[in-house]
Amino acid sequence: MVAAAVLSVVVMLAAAIAVVRARNFLSAVAALSVVSLALSVLFALLKAPDVAMAEAAVGAGLSGVLLALAGYRLKLIGAPAAAHRAPANSAAALWTGVQPQPQQRGGGRFASLLFLAGLAVLLASVLASAPFGAAPMQVGQQIVAAAPGEVGTANIVTAVVLGYRGFDTLGEVTILFVAATAAGLVLGGAGITSGTRIPAMQPAGFILDRASRLLLPILLVLGAYIVLHGHLTPGGGFQGGAILAAAFIVPLLASPSGPFHHRLATFIEGFAGAAFVLIGLASLMDGKAFLTPLFGKGTLGAFISAGSLPLLYVAIGLKVGSELSGLLHRMLSPGSQP
């Protein structure tokens, strides 16, 4: 188990170095996905299945796609950047068609390397000062003991996410919403004055188109399952939502001009978010504190259990799904949809 951990850490750091050193943006993005994957393996080893799934789905998957699309829009990937090609002074640059990154002078980089090595040692000694493997669990112990009784979910992390620290999750959903809105404002933006129309990507071949359409239902079922079983098995609203988003985006990646009705996405997004808050307010209405879990807890481990928590996770799943897909779609097609 330790060997696997050490191995994945080594892979992760190598991939991280690759992210920085890569001359080509696409390879950097790929390296970043590798880092995320190695990270999710580490999370699994640290006995954090929920986090591993989230890191895999959201970290490796979506941010990889997001970066790739952005790279495309920033002409750092693919498009034969004809206009400002600096004289390619190395074969690699010639082959990949991307002008070399204007690196700092050698001396400056060596100095910062040295400086960072010192920082690494210091940081390591400070982080190591807290004893590993012996978490004080001042609050954690009480939650582990009280969760099944108080909240009634098999997956204690979900108890924490939606029960004890439900307010954090509300904040988290809001952050995603804010980021999406701000991105929408900037991209869909009224400020588009320059008319640089980016040529829509060529439609993928027949096989890819058909296969991606086939994937849609499978991904939908998988996403729904993960969302609905959030309170029993690892995973939940976020991981499921990410998969749902992937479900909508994969066919679009294949054929960019495919239909994507933004009005529906906005509608789902709005109502799911509002549902989350309304459930919270509902408990406030009849005298209990905000976001207190409602209805009976049911039998532990059963599908219908843990009161209103599954509902919350469904709301989150729908919201994350619609938001991320809307975001990716806006990244995909320049400036047409707000």
């Binding site: 000062s129 669990m137 108080e150 904040g171 809105t181 997004e269 509002a274 005298g287």
Partner: protein, 507 residues
């Protein structure tokens, strides 16, 4: 009295709910969404006012969210300072609504979210919850700075985002260290365990990371490099909100962390060093700045440095001085930005502004007098509180701080009145002084009138601030409020019953 502790969550929950619904409503009718947003913020302001009355009468309010007893669940804690900042935020938000009617509905959504998240910052009593709301405020402000999405605004927002996100990662690392040492995230619990758990190297490292993290918004020294570029590029209202109110929320969080989690001398020493560096950097940079907006941005960095110095002084006096300086700056800076929005361009180009807009020039001079600290204006009383508080503990570093503060006054007068003299100068023959928009002038005059009222009622206002500071700087009272039966709670492993609410205890 249990009733009002439930309302504590409304100023946060209502705006967020409204924000979710606004895009949907906007599809139906654009201006309706905007009015929904404004209505919700007004409602939140009403709730805040009610809470203020309640707190004024019988002390701080505690609300356990989700019905879980404090150390487990997330708690909201509202005392005099947080309610005052909440009201300032909501009122400031309404006054400086950063999105105009014609804009895309998303700007209004961002504004409403900024209000909701800001309330979260003011009220939350949980370290990670503070981090989450801090992050929402940050992202909302990146969006607002990006505003109409022109190249410059997007560039400034992006560079601001990079600094902010770097800071947030550090803050999260700090929170991880705090959790590694104490095992809990509730501020009261941390305060209880702090003396023996957070006094060591880990604790101080955590404090360093937290200060750097929350310092981005609080414009503390190493991480306030984004200030001049963002305030010069963003619209004046966004700048007013960020400089005037959001920065105060962030610096008060730093104060809470210092008072509760790191009461030791070492932490205060670090904050003092950062404060002094901030004042020196801000003042000297502002001295020769080319335009009014640049001078104001650097001046806000130095004012925040002053607040940091004040909060670095232990005891009620320090907190009172910091609060007075913060509230005074929150009142004065937005008005300055409203004027600066119309007086762009090099400073000597402003000649004749006094002739063209005499009221605006008079307001500028009145505000400049207060920020320089001329008695009997409130600016003077704030600085006086700072100097007397600092002098009570005469360590060499504090004496240096006093010298810096007093020297800062002269430098402030130097650039403020260089501008005032330029305003009243004679314009070039054919050019008349710059005009000013009626809306901006009205807001600036309103704030100046507010300052005048505070001048007249200075004794009452200062006593109120002193009372608030006394409550805020008392660690044991905070712990007693949030964890009333601390002794019994630790032994009892399982809390019984779902709907068990925490009674707000009478102090």
């Amino acid at each position: 009295m249990a009733r009002s502790s439930e309302l504590l969550v409304l100023p946060i929950a209502l705006p967020i709910a409204a924000a979710f619904l606004m895009p949907v409503v906007a599809n139906v009718q654009a201006s309706l969404a905007r009015w929904l947003g404004i209505a919700v913020v007004v409602a939140a302001l009403g709730v805040a006012a009610m809470l203020a009355v309640d707190i004024a009468q019988s002390g701080p309010l505690v609300a356990a969210l989700g019905g879980f007893a404090p150390p487990l669940g997330i708690t909201l804690y509202a005392d005099g300072i947080s309610i005052t900042l909440l009201i300032a935020l909501l009122a400031g938000g309404l006054l400086f609504w950063a999105a105009s009617p014609g804009d895309n509905v998303r700007s209004h959504v961002l504004m409403v979210l900024l209000m909701g998240a800001g309330s979260g910052l003011a009220l939350s009593g949980d370290l990670f919850n503070l981090f989450v709301f801090y992050e929402i405020t940050a992202v909302a402000s990146y969006g607002l700075v990006a505003g109409r999405g022109s190249g410059a605004e997007a560039g400034a927002a992006l560079r601001y985002l990079i600094v902010g996100t770097l800071g947030s990662s550090l803050a999260l690392l700090g929170i991880a260290l705090v959790y590694a040492s104490t095992g809990t995230l509730n501020l009261a619990d941390i305060a209880r365990l702090a003396p023996e758990r957070l006094a060591g190297v880990t604790g101080m490292a955590a404090f360093l990371l937290l200060v750097l993290g929350f310092g981005v918004k609080a414009e503390l020294t190493p991480v306030n490099t984004w200030v001049p570029e963002v305030y010069a590029t963003a619209s004046a209202r966004v700048a007013s909100l960020l400089a005037g109110i959001v920065s105060k929320l962030a610096i008060v969080i730093v104060m809470r962390i210092v008072v509760l989690a790191f009461p030791g001398e070492q932490a205060r020493e670090l904050l003092l060093v950062l404060g002094i560096a901030g004042v020196v950097a801000g003042e000297f940079a502002a001295l020769g700045s080319a335009t009014l907006i640049q001078a104001l941005s650097y001046s806000s960095v130095s004012q925040l440095g002053l607040v940091a110095i004040a909060f670095a002084i232990s005891g009620t006096a320090g907190v009172a001085a910091g609060l007075a300086l913060a509230l005074h700056h929150a009142l004065v800076k937005p008005a300055f930005f409203m004027l600066a929005a119309n007086w762009r361009g090099p400073i000597d180009g402003l000649a004749g502004a006094a002739k063209a807009t005499p009221v605006a020039a008079a307001v500028f001079v009145f505000l400049a007098l207060s920020i320089v600290g001329v008695p009997p204006l409130p600016g003077f009383w704030a600085k006086y509180l700072l100097v007397t508080a600092a002098l009570a503990k005469a360590s060499p570093l504090v004496l240096l701080a006093i010298a810096v503060v007093l020297a800062a006054v002269v430098v402030e007068a130097a650039y403020m009145f260089r501008i005032a003299v330029a305003l009243y100068g004679q314009p070039a023959p054919e050019r008349s002084g710059p005009a000013i928009l009626r809306g901006d002038l009205a807001r600036a005059t309103l704030l100046a009138a507010g300052l005048a009222v505070v001048t007249l009622t200075a004794p009452a206002v200062l006593d109120a601030i002193h009372r608030m500071a006394a409550v805020a700087s008392d660690r044991d009272a905070y712990i007693a409020h949030v964890l009333p039966e601390r002794g019994a709670r630790a032994a009892l492993s399982v809390s019984v019953g779902v709907d068990q609410r925490t009674e707000r205890s009478i102090p």
